[in-house]
Amino acid sequence: MTGLLAAVSEEPTVHLTSQTRILAAIIAVAFMLMILELIRRDRLQERFSVVWFIAGLGMLAGAIFPGLLAGVADVMGVRDTNVALFSIILLLLLGLALNFSVIMSRQAAQITRLAQERALEKAREQTRSGENGGEPSVRGAATAKDDPDG
């Protein structure tokens, strides 16, 4: 058992052939070009693209310097470089998903407020035109304006 573990630790577990490295680099470059194209066609806003460029550059760096991943795994204290790679990717995706939840929450709050403002505007229009037949609008723009919260 101990002999087996020793054998694993001595032998690098990831063998990147030059072929796979070239493929990984091509994918990384294509990925970043795709991000650029999305920005160019207004499908993606710049502020959301930064993290994807960093991911693309990370992929490219991993393809060009095969020793990088092994070094990172060593710093993490992980024997298997595959495990290190997957852990890093998982954590990044988790962080990204959380980030999107935060953005979604903010936008949901903004959409709600927008809907409310529109509803209030309609209600004010109705009271001003006196459609409801009850008391016509004694309140006008003045009461709405003198409130500091408005």
Binding site: R106, T112, R124, Q126
Partner: protein, 253 residues
């Protein structure tokens, strides 16, 4: 002294006109606003026919957002007091008048109409909650009392009266997901005087409760999470203090 009574309504076309007529009868001096929460039926039209002002949300946003719309309208239009009741007809308008008396007399900032009288004192024609509702109610009652150190019996009551301090707070900070419980916790934490008044409630005229047992369990779980998170929100001495980033989101833009 101007008072607004608002009615959040979602697909309550059958009962909304009756509720409006009831409010007009018992509270002739108030202005009436129906917040139509993106109904797909004739709720908005019926409410306008019955003589209420209608604030129609373009799509369904949930009870919290609808209530917040009412508070926002009351605040912006300069009302001194406001009250709200459900559109399904289970809240007698006469009882709303009693709640309003409490805030007008400045005995409280926020008054909740509680459907529960003193425990064990229920009368035969009183509101009868279902079993899952009773379990949920006692769980919330326990934890809200724990969180606020104030005794509440009806934590999910949709019949309330409030003054301008509450309008200011609720128009900025109001959870769209979990309106009733979190708002009570928030108001108490902000140092507002919250009071409960026992009221009679009736069986609903139209519509149906959204609470199935699975819903109830989820509802309770969500409520507990919301209460727990609420305990870690900053406590301000002054009502209407710094709103959270979500509460402020719309105003910033």
């Amino acid at each position: 002294m101007r008072t607004l009574v608002f009615i959040p309504a979602w697909n309550e076309a059958d009962s909304v006109a009756t509720v409006i007529a009831g409010v007009r009868e018992h509270l002739p001096e108030v202005d009436l606003l129906v917040v139509d929460d993106g109904s797909s039926d004739e709720t908005a039209a019926r409410a306008a026919e019955a003589g209420a002002t209608v604030a129609a949300l373009p799509f369904n946003q949930g009870l919290g957002a609808a209530l917040q719309t009412g508070y926002l309208y009351a605040l912006r239009e300069g009302y001194d007091f406001c009250a709200h009741l459900d559109a399904d007809g289970q809240h007698p308008p006469a009882e709303v008048a009693r709640l309003l008396e409490e805030v007008r007399a400045d005995r409280a900032d926020l008054v909740i109409g509680s459907r529960y009288r003193e425990p064990g004192e229920a009368k035969s024609d009183d509101y009868r909650p279902t079993l899952s509702r009773r379990i949920g109610t006692s769980v919330f009652r326990f934890f809200l009392t724990l969180a606020t150190r104030q005794r509440f019996t009806d934590t999910t009551s949709g019949m309330r009266a409030a003054n301008r301090r509450v309008m200011r707070l609720f128009s900025e900070n109001y959870s769209p997901d979990f309106a009733e419980i979190e708002s009570l916790q928030l108001a108490v934490r902000q140092g507002l005087r919250v009071e409960e008044v026992p009221v009679r409630m009736l069986e609903r005229v139209g519509g149906s409760s959204f609470l199935t047992p699975v819903h109830s369990a989820f509802f309770i779980f969500k409520g507990l999470v919301v209460l727990l998170v609420g305990q870690f929100r900053p406590r301000n001495g002054e009502a209407g203090g710094e709103p959270g980033p979500l509460g402020k989101a719309g105003v910033e833009q």
